[in-house]
């Protein structure tokens, strides 16, 4: 079980949250200009890191806001949490 530090509500059990995948994947600014390879990279390709991982979580059963958690994907240690635009 993970204890997720919601930046607004404080630490809560992971049961209250929805996992939203890797963070820092911006929506393409000019979608019409993208090649098929660039679309594939945006939609499907992931770093899937072993170790430090920046990821998105939503406090679905709480404040319902999205934020970023940094977590070690091997030990599950939570290394920090931040709101969008502010690093912790």
């Amino acid at each position: 079980m993970l204890l997720i530090p919601c930046p607004w509500c404080g630490p809560r059990e992971d049961d209250e949250f929805t996992f939203g995948g890797e963070a820092d994947i911006p929506r393409p600014a000019d979608p019409d200009a993208l090649t098929d390879e660039q679309w594939a990279d945006y939609l499907f390709m992931r770093d899937n890191r072993r170790g430090r991982h920046r990821e998105q979580w939503c406090h679905t059963a709480g404040c319902r806001r999205w934020f970023i958690v940094e977590r070690d994907t091997v030990t599950n240690e939570i290394l920090g949490a931040s709101t969008y635009g502010n690093s912790s």
Partner: protein, 416 residues
Amino acid sequence: MQFYSLPNLIRRGLRGHRDWTPAWRKAEPKPSYDVVIVGAGGHGLATAYYLAKLHGVTNVAVLERGWLGGGNIGRNTAIVRSNYLWDASAHIYEFSLKLWEGLSQELNYNVMFSQRGLLNIGHSEQEMRDLARRVGANQLNGIDAELLSTHEVSKLVPILNTSPHTRYPVLGGTLQRRGGVARHDAVAWGYARAADALGVDIVENCEVTGIRTANGRVTSLETTRGEIRAGAVGLVVAGNASVLASMAGIRLPIQSHPLQALVTEPLKPVFDPVVMSSAVHVYIHQTDRGELVLGAGIDAPVSYDLNGNFRIIEHVLAAVCELFPIFSRVRMLRQWAGTVDVCPDASPIISGTPIKGLFMNCGWGTGGFKATPGSGWVFAHTLAHQEPHPLNEPFSLDRFTTGALIDEHGAAAVAH
């Protein structure tokens, strides 16, 4: 290779079983091979075996970071079936199932393949319509599949709670009689022994730390036991595919998750087939020893952790107690997780890469065990001919660019 047979067993038994030799050699890595396979799990060892057996490529090494069969081949729930929805999947899994049916003879090693039947149960009218559709698709592909009513399900597995007043009412099911289970470790050991006998070097405790390329072609692997040159490299590293691929600068459409399983104390034989429910994320069968083996859905967050989240266990056991009230007081003996590499379309990647000579067999998600023989067979063909076999051509890496995905979430994502 010492042939395993009754006369040999008696002969050696009379001599006190003192002259059995190890099933495979502990090979030292040579400086160069025609083909190097990374990962001595089921798929990697099967690949090596079919390379040597069918394609005459015997200058082959299988490198393993830990010990042979220590990864997902030893962590899965051992279920074998081929009742997939789409043609591409149906063809490769059915090909694999046919190899399973002769595997113990082929390898002279008892993989204890037991075709006890595989029952998928449905809990809603929409699920029953989906199951009926899949049965139709299976039959069109020549795969045995039957649609069962609640009464027929009840006759097959009398201990299943088919009362209409339960949390998960059983509205019917599908049955693949040729499905079943196999002894998962024996599959790795059998392929290892047979590949070794054909001259394949299996090198344990040899971790790949880098992939060297020149002019867009793979040249060698850096390992903890020195540099090994290779004509072709096959990465078959379930649970670490993204990590290995990143050494060659390749990004994969894979996310890794823990998948948990549990085993109970042994009971007297109480039901025959494998019973699976995709809607409540549970599958269960009874081993020859009498233990119940239970499997779950994946943990949602990306993780390489091998414990898994307790909530999943709670969910699986709640579902099992609802479906099988008779098991409510059975005690669990052990629980574990394996890392599964899941593709967005829940289908594997058996493919070349942008780097010449570098091939990948990965992304099997939650259901790779059943494909072990077929996966090895087509990957051996791919490595030997440097191009895919028609069976694995649809499972290319570039399907994520072309959009020709093979969406098997209905058949593969939840249940094995």
